[in-house]
């Protein structure tokens, strides 16, 4: 097992290097740079642009910029943000709690929706529950998050006045935000969007996986041994069927952990996703690189974790 992990981690290093090079090239290939935004101000003259370009080191050849970024990044120095001059690490770290909170609650909620829906739909395949959830899942997968989010805002914040439309807390009252209940209120709408969209996809995987499993001989054998139906499904079939679904959940979780870009933007959620949107619009190269590398690393690591988990369940995976 340790050898397996070591091998996978070693393989990850050249992969991440390759990704960093590609990402660096891609974000520099997009037209406009961190200084493009200055151009619309008629008081910023060409001399100013040139001076700022030199100050930010953007006048050097691209490979030099990449190399100095890579060396610094490898030493844990993520550089300074091109837009506000603060250390990139600080800008990212201050956004992490908001994203973890939103994504954590969303994933838990999505799983809570996924498991019963997927299992029941598979067991009662073709029944009314299956049909309703299939329709619901298709709707959930097809809903654009930004649209769904805005509709929820219009209904629950503007129409009914039950919930705040967006943001993470209600700031400013008597010098502070409203505590746990206030937090939960702000979480409800964005979590609904993320959880519904994720659960729609995941429950489809689980349903498919369960149907396949339920048709296998060991399920029949379990039933033949007289094990009650409920135990056959939950203890035998679900355990077998959930493996591949967990792999998907892991990758989605890694993607979400680096920021639910659209949902965070629609709900003015101060997490990594809105930081990414902002950095992209301003071509804040150093923040973009750090965020994209975090995402890539998270995906690679979560994949390794998912494989390791799979290996624990099924020792054949470890063999080359």
């Amino acid at each position: 097992m340790l050898g397996f992990l070591a091998r996978r981690l070693l393989q990850a290093v050249p992969l991440l290097l390759l990704i960093s090079g590609l990402v660096f090239l891609l974000i520099h290939a997009a037209p406009g740079g961190p200084l493009a935004i200055y151009l619309s101000n008629p008081n910023v003259r060409p001399e100013d642009i040139e001076r700022l370009r030199r100050a930010l080191g953007l006048d050097r050849p691209l490979w030099q910029q990449y190399w100095s970024w890579l060396v610094a990044f490898a030493h844990g120095d993520w550089g300074y943000s091109f837009s506000d001059g603060r250390p990139v690490a600080i800008r990212i770290v201050e956004r992490i709690p908001a994203t973890l909170e939103l994504v954590g609650v969303s994933i838990v909620t999505a799983l809570a929706l996924t498991v019963p829906t997927g299992v029941l739909a598979a067991v009662r395949r073709g029944g009314w529950f299956d049909r309703i959830t299939t329709t619901g899942a298709i709707a959930g997968i097809s809903l654009p998050a930004f649209w769904f989010g805005l509709v929820l805002q219009i209904v629950f914040a503007i129409g009914l006045h039950w919930l705040p439309s967006s943001g993470r807390t209600t700031p400013g009252w008597a010098g502070g935000s409203g505590g746990l209940a206030d937090h939960a209120q702000h979480l409800l709408l964005p979590v609904t969007v993320l959880a519904v969209v994720q659960a729609a996809g995941w429950s489809r995987y689980l349903r498919g996986s369960m149907i396949e499993t339920l048709a296998q001989p060991f399920v029949l054998a379990a039933r033949a041994r007289g094990i009650p139906g409920r135990d056959v499904i939950l203890r035998h079939a679900l355990r077998h069927a959930i493996g591949p679904v967990l792999a998907v959940v892991m990758v989605d979780a890694a993607l979400l952990a680096s920021g639910a870009v659209v949902t965070e933007s629609v709900f003015a959620w101060p997490g990594l996703g809105s930081l990414f949107t902002e950095a992209l619009a301003r071509r804040d190269y150093s923040v973009l690189m750090a965020l994209l590398m975090l995402t890539s690393t998270a995906i690679v690591l979560f994949n390794i974790v998912a494989d390791a988990a799979h290996a624990l369940v099924d020792p054949r995976v470890v063999e080359p």
Binding site: R51, R91, L163, E278
Partner: protein, 540 residues
């Protein structure tokens, strides 16, 4: 006993807990939608500032305006009025002296009794320090425009600063509109990295930063002894909430979670019309939407007959009545009615497609078999670029495409994101572009129309060349006398309107949504923004 791998029961309990918490909270709802009061006014702001140092930022300075004050400011009619100066220096009042060597001296008299927020007096030494820092090698401000023409600053006494210019600089009166840097805080420091100042600047204005929560908000609180007297400002705290998404910002306004939204998009005006608690304030703006015609990239634009035909073929009145919902008037030139340099003695072009067709025929562009005009086998076809995700621009671009097609001109619309668009025009890699310039409050047209001001030296991206106009514009820049300068600028505007180097479409009107109960809101057409008189604001 084997358990479900996810701890189904625990999951269910967690979810139930979150839902219950939310529900409990919902029942206890009280304050997400607190009405605006003199205790707290909440502004829905479209972005988080990069820095609060006014000389380092490249975005609008609304928040900074509440904290840091300039020697002058611009009022709701775009007039330059004194703020920390006792008056605006002019030749008439002796504040401006033209030297025989071609330079000029401007004497600023400072308002006595003004103190920085830390209690230290504001003096002429701060002005000298600001000029020296901006012109010095160690600080990287956004722009050194104007400052680089200053040779030195003299401070004969604490309340007088004499600024010596190497040459005549007409917009001298807004040189210190962004404020000054406090010498006692920043002297000898690396200003680019002075995080304390850049995140919470020391100013002389009515507010100071109380809290900046990254990604969420900046909270300002009133300073205890503002120089205008303890009655000001009337509102105790101002909060700027960062809500980048326009729909979300408008939703927060409707639900009462924010009270003020500056620069409401025109297509949102109708949504707000039915709200009794909100007033949408209209201010004639100093920007104008237009189509830039790049002569270098698309040579047919070099023919004045073609350019004139294009403007005649567009029903600009129809655009403003329909797409703009009557909120913005047609623009006929690059100087807008709000500016002191505006004149209506210029050539105006009506909607006249038959004259447009005749002009194109005269220029040798005849309708080909596919309905598109051509000359010497080449079609009159170009690409119009504009900003993506900006509904009004996308609609206007489509209308232009359609109306020009009616006179046989083939237009293809291409959309780009804002940052990409800036880079494209800077490099001159486009045929035509639909966009606006936010004009400076001083009507300096040189950078947009002088022959030698094509990028990178300026913003003449029509690549229009007219030596007589260029000479006239530079003469206006070197004239301080307001009457003479006005005359020169009127002549320049007339020349521009005859030559049609670009197609002006409409004058941009600012829409700002504020509470109906807010008193003394005046608005502002310039980049100074609506907060220039925030000390007077009051909820009644």
């Amino acid at each position: 006993m084997w358990r479900s791998p996810l701890g189904l029961r625990r999951l269910a309990i967690l979810v139930a807990a979150v839902v219950l918490l939310g529900a409990a909270g919902a029942c206890a709802r009280r304050d997400s939608a607190t009405p605006p009061s003199n205790d707290l006014l909440i502004v829905g702001y479209d972005r988080e500032p990069d820095t609060l140092n006014r000389f380092s930022t490249h975005i609008l300075e609304d928040i900074q305006t509440c904290i840091v004050e300039g020697l002058t400011t611009t009022d709701e009619q775009m007039r330059v009025v004194p703020l920390l100066a006792t008056e605006v220096p002019t030749v008439q009042n002796g504040g401006v002296r033209l030297r025989s060597d071609g330079g000029m001296d401007v004497s600023w008299k400072l308002r006595p009794g003004v103190r920085w927020h830390d209690g230290r007096p504001f003096t002429s030494a701060d002005i000298k320090f600001t000029v020296d820092a901006i012109n010095g090698p160690s600080y990287n401000p956004e722009s050194t425009d104007g400052f680089d023409r200053i040779s030195s600053v003299e401070t004969p006494d604490a309340l007088t600063a004499v600024v010596h210019y190497k040459e005549i600089y007409a917009p001298y009166d807004i040189q210190f509109i962004r404020g000054t840097l406090p010498k006692h805080v920043l002297e000898g420091r690396d200003i680019d990295r002075a995080r304390d100042y850049n995140r919470s600047p020391l100013g002389t204005g009515p507010y100071r930063v109380a809290d900046w929560k990254a990604g969420e908000y900046i909270l300002l609180e009133r300073v205890p002894h503002y120089w205008r007297g303890d009655n000001y400002p009337r509102i105790r705290r101002l909060m700027f909430k960062f809500i980048a998404n326009t729909n979300t910002r408008i939703n927060q306004l409707k639900s009462g979670e924010v009270h003020v939204v500056a620069l409401v998009p025109w297509d949102k005006k109708r949504e707000l019309a039915g709200l009794p608690s909100i007033v949408v304030h209209r201010t004639p703006g100093n920007a104008y939407e237009h189509v830039t015609l790049n002569e270098r990239q698309f040579p047919p634009f070099a023919d004045v007959r073609v350019r004139t035909a294009l403007i005649l073929a567009l029903d600009r009145e129809l655009f403003t009545k329909t797409i703009l919902d009557g909120l913005a008037p047609v623009a006929h030139g690059s100087v807008q009615p709000v500016s002191w340099a505006y004149t209506d003695r210029i050539t105006r072009y009506p909607f006249d497609p038959s004259r447009a067709r005749a002009l194109l025929n005269e220029a040798g562009w005849h309708v080909g078999p596919n309905g598109i005009r051509q000359r010497e086998g080449r079609p009159l076809a170009f690409t119009l670029i504009t900003q993506a995700g900006y509904a009004i621009r996308e609609n206007i671009a489509q209308a232009i495409e359609r109306q020009l097609r009616d006179v046989g001109v083939d237009v293809r619309v291409a959309l780009h994101d804002g940052t990409a668009l800036s880079a494209i025009w800077f490099e001159g890699r486009f045929d035509a572009m639909l966009h606006w310039w936010q004009m400076p409050s001083d009507p300096e047209l040189t950078t947009f129309f002088a022959a030698d001001r094509t990028p990178p030296a300026g913003r003449n991206i029509n690549y229009y060349k007219d030596d007589a106009l260029t000479a006239l514009l530079y003469a206006a820049d070197r004239t301080v006398d307001r009457a003479q300068r006005t005359e020169l600028l009127h002549r320049a505007q007339a020349m521009i309107s005859d030559a049609v180097p670009e197609i002006p479409l409409y004058s941009v009107t600012r829409l700002d949504a504020v509470p109906a109960s807010l008193q003394h809101f005046k608005g502002n057409p310039t980049n100074t923004g609506i907060f220039w008189n925030v000390h007077e604001w009051e909820i009644k």
